[in-house]
């Protein structure tokens, strides 16, 4: 049913720490690796070794240069995947009922057996979180690794999304945002976690943690006293002569 649930029992999602993310693309690979062989159709590649390669990914990492009013510019790496919005426009536009939001945990999923591949949901998502797989003709999106997080055949520590598990710097955190005491809720509260394009009215669940304030760079070099060397001898004589010319 593509009507949205009035409320969901949980709000599972990700808190993504832009301070820690080093832009290594490990989450992109981990996501593609896991989701290529689990939930639904494979994440196909077209012409992967050719001149114009292209493929389906559920998670992409951008890099931005941000220039603050004062101080040097900062490089900020920016992972982008589905935000599992509360008011998900991608769900309501779907004509077939393939797109839906789960009442139990708020995960937004696509039932690929019902998807006709019209692409309308990808148009409706402001965040580019959906990609139509060119081989299967069905819509692919982040599943929040629904086949890992409840999977009792996996060891306990692996019961979190592949991108979270695969991140070498721990920049992605998974949890329940409806519980104010959950790790992600507390992180978001402490660090001023924010939603993307709130004016689009989608009420995203995922939160982004902004980079921490940077230290002020030392104005003078620590080596300054050492650098102020008085030339003597021949070099001193040369310095004096050259200074006069």
């Amino acid at each position: 049913m593509t009507c949205l649930p009035a409320t969901t029992q949980k709000k599972l999602g990700l808190a993504i720490d832009l301070d820690t993310c080093v832009g290594c693309q490990a989450c992109v690979t981990a996501c593609k690796g896991w989701n290529d062989q689990g939930y639904g159709a494979r994440l196909s590649d077209q012409n992967p070794y050719g001149a114009d390669p292209s493929g389906t990914f559920l998670n992409r990492v951008h890099s931005y240069a941000v220039q603050p009013e004062a101080g040097p510019a900062q490089t900020i790496n920016f992972p982008r995947s589905c935000l599992h919005c509360d008011d998900a426009p991608c769900v309501t536009v779907c004509p077939t009922g393939a797109s839906y939001k789960r009442t139990e945990d708020g995960i937004v999923l696509v039932n690929e057996d019902a998807c006709i591949g019209c692409g309308l949901c990808a148009w409706a998502c402001p965040y580019g979180a959906r990609e139509l797989d060119q081989a299967a003709g069905v819509m692919k999106k982040c599943t929040l690794c629904v086949d890992r997080i409840y999977n009792e055949t996996l060891p306990e520590e692996d019961r979190e999304p592949a991108c979270v598990r695969g991140c070498p710097t721990g920049a992605r955190h998974f949890g329940d945002f409806s519980d104010p005491d959950s790790k992600v809720s507390r992180l978001s509260a402490e660090r001023g976690g924010y939603a993307l394009m709130p004016d689009m009215g989608t009420k995203p669940v995922n939160r982004y943690l902004p980079p921490r304030k940077k230290d002020h760079p030392q104005e003078a070099s620590l080596l300054a006293p050492l650098l102020d060397i008085k030339a003597s001898g021949f070099a001193g004589w040369l310095d004096k002569i050259l200074g006069k010319i």
């Binding site: 114009d52 890099s63 490089t75 536009v93 077939t96 006709i116 990808a122 998502c125 982004y208």
Partner: protein, 289 residues
């Protein structure tokens, strides 16, 4: 947005077809015998060709019937219902005209309203998309409806009415361009709000997320051909509005046929632009629009 031929043909042909069906259903023209067969056939033909074309851009068209299930929330689903209901409802009226059965016309009026309702649902598929600010405005359904009425009136051979509608369409198109050009800025989204990094400073792309193309870039961040937009707007305006209006001042079938061909070509150009010019906010992540 990528101007897919299937979607352009779908929306233009079915719009024109439902426009003609509305005029036939409402009894503005009441042909009989084989003239009725051809006229109704033209309306049905255009509508059905358009609807079939729309299935060509589906990844899995064999499941298309499922698109009837979500009418409670989805405009696309509502459109499926409205179009089928219109075609079914008007069938007895068409039959009665063709075979001179003399059945009452009442149902034809309902069919006419439904035909225009179908065009409205089509337009709402685009209008509802907040992420494409240019479309997200009441002027979009207005444009679709007036296009449909104008095309329908020309095909129904209503010289005066069609000429007047051409003028109205001209006004609507000007409004569409004027309003549309400011919509993205009015939506207020920038690379800063898309990433939320505006709270730190001025944001620019440092490195793209991927070096090759992907579905998003092909489908939503279509920039090819926008540079000819102004030229194409003039062509669309001339062919869809000015030329048919002038041709309709003449009398006889050849004028109507020429006006229809000109209008159709102009409508296709305008619809191409409707997609090609529309910018999706996802382009902001890529520093493109």
């Amino acid at each position: 947005m990528h101007p897919a031929p299937s979607v352009i043909i779908f929306s233009v042909f079915s719009g024109m077809g439902f426009g003609l069906l509305a005029f036939l259903g409402a009894g503005v023209v009441t042909p009989s015998g084989w003239a009725a067969f051809l006229w109704w056939g033209l309306g049905y033909g255009l509508a059905v060709v358009g609807l079939l074309a729309s299935t060509f851009h589906l990844g899995n068209p064999q499941r298309a019937l499922l698109a009837f299930t979500q009418w409670r929330s989805s405009w696309l689903s509502r459109e499926a219902w409205a179009s089928v209901a219109t075609l079914l409802l008007l069938a007895p009226v068409a039959l009665s005209d063709w075979l001179a059965l003399g059945w009452p016309r009442g149902i034809g009026f309902i069919g006419a309203v439904l035909a225009l309702g179908t065009v409205f649902t089509t337009s709402m598929i685009y209008t509802q998309i907040k992420a494409v600010p240019r479309w997200h405005h009441p002027v979009t359904p207005l444009m679709f409806m007036v296009f449909s009425l104008t095309g329908g009136a020309i095909l129904a051979g209503q010289h005066l009415l069609a000429a007047v509608l051409c003028v109205a369409l001209g006004a609507v198109l000007l409004a569409v361009y004027r309003i549309g050009d400011g919509q993205f800025a009015r939506a207020g989204q920038t690379m800063g709000t898309a990433t939320g990094l505006d709270r730190i400073g001025e944001v620019a792309v440092f490195e793209q997320a991927h070096t090759a193309g992907n579905y998003l870039l092909r489908e939503m961040i279509y920039v090819v051909g926008r540079k000819h937009a102004t030229k194409l707007r003039r062509i669309a305006f001339a062919l869809a509005v000015v030329l048919p209006a002038l041709l309709l001042l003449g009398h006889g079938l050849p004028f109507v046929v020429l006006a229809a061909i000109s209008h159709l070509t102009g409508a296709l150009a305008a619809r191409w632009l409707f997609f090609a010019e529309a910018e999706h906010v996802v382009g902001l992540y890529y520093g493109k629009r």
